[in-house]
Symmetry: C2
DNA sequence: CCTCGTTTCAAACGATCGTTTTGACGGCAG
DNA sequence: CTGCCGTCAAAACGATCGTTTGAAACGAGG
């Protein structure tokens, strides 16, 4: 085979350390195929290092997974919460309901327009929800609950008549639609035939904003 | 260990055949832990037979999985489509929008109230979407697309002003909320603290019906 | 009784898994 | 130079994977 040391090294002026290459490679492969489907040998060969490196740097495959995940959790939470806060600040006090809704929706979906880490992160997220390898409730505590609370708070600010329960459920409905879009765009072989353009930007954003705004107003009474 | 033949046999008057026991056991275990996480030895020991039985009856683990899945696909599709048709028939020609929406929602969510096969099937569904082991597009062709078409047709019947694109997207929004409820109720450790009652029946059904009806009406113009 | 096809079994196959061992290599302080 | 430390790779470890094998056990028909 190819000499392991010869492949996938960064450019010589940035001799990326083995540890970081392992984290990056693991993130990509785990997102594409899932935790169990990726062996440490596949990871290390793609990262251009020896099998033992995983245990040397992380003490095992599962710790590599958790370390890889932990890197992204805080960044994801802060990015989303700050996008909510920014949208609320721009909206001002007399903002319409549609404006923050549109800001949330685009902030959530735009990472999936490019080929960068945003899509990967949501795939990792979905897999972790279905097949947990972090400590129980980590995702909920670190990301889901804080973002959900921020969204509820923002919605209640622009929709004073909405009681707490209806606000929480409306946010669930909004998030559900966003997650659904992500799933449909990620799932292989699902977007076939007609309906492929149902999830194309920016029409899907327009629909979600309009649908959710009407839904929230309908939950007011 | 325990003698394999001694465990998990059906009652003596129904000497369930090995083949069917394998299918049932595989369905339960695959739904709980996923395809790769369940070994054929675990399946056969729970089914009370020898390891070789999987290859004898199905020719391999993957074929067992596909056979197990194939049993349920047609039934799931027919149950959902018939529930749609039945709701439309009961609604009559002058039906309100809320009535079929409520019928769809309860039909989709009620299997998750009991501990029976409905929950399992949706877990298998989610796993298959994220980690496919059927031929590409099988889920889409056998279930998702037909049910989606039936829903679009029904919605357009009670909502004549809705154009085709808005109807498809509105159904996506409805299904997204239903799937979200299923995921939240299935995911381990996600429903903690406050927000646990956000997905309890029948309040969640009421919310989805009201939210979606308003959303659809808001997509009309 | 015997035969024959079906079913089930214990045992073993080769492959691959995550992990550990062992030691080589290079830079740096003493 | 010597000794140590961080880095890393080759090899091997035991375990488990899906699958195969060959024969025993079974039940129905002659």
């Amino acid at each position: 085979m190819i000499p392991a040391r010869a492949i996938d090294r960064g450019s010589p002026e940035t001799p990326t350390k083995t540890r970081e290459r392992l984290l990056d490679t693991a993130e990509r492969l785990f997102a594409e195929r899932g935790f169990r489907a990726v062996s440490v040998r596949v990871i290390t060969s793609h990262a251009g290092c020896n099998v033992a490196a995983v245990n040397y740097y992380f003490g095992g495959k599962e710790n590599l997974y958790r370390e890889m995940f932990r890197r992204r959790l805080v960044a994801l939470r802060e990015q989303r919460i700050s996008s909510i806060r920014r949208a609320m600040a721009e909206a001002g006090s007399g903002a319409s309901l549609e404006l923050p809704l549109r800001a949330f929706t685009t902030a959530f979906l735009e990472p999936h327009l490019d080929q960068s880490g945003g899509r990967r992160l949501m795939r990792l997220f979905s897999r972790e929800l279905l097949d947990p390898h972090l400590k129980a409730g980590t995702l909920q505590r670190e990301v889901i609950e804080p973002v959900h609370s921020a969204l509820v708070e923002a919605i209640q600010a622009v929709c004073p008549g909405l009681d707490a329960s209806a606000a929480r459920r409306s946010i669930h409905s909004l998030v559900a639609q966003l997650v659904h879009v992500v799933h449909m765009r990620n799932a292989p072989g699902v977007l076939r035939g007609a309906g492929r353009e149902d999830f194309s930007f920016p029409a899907v954003v327009d629909h979600i904003v309009r649908f959710s705004a009407a839904g929230i107003r309908g939950s007011l009474t």
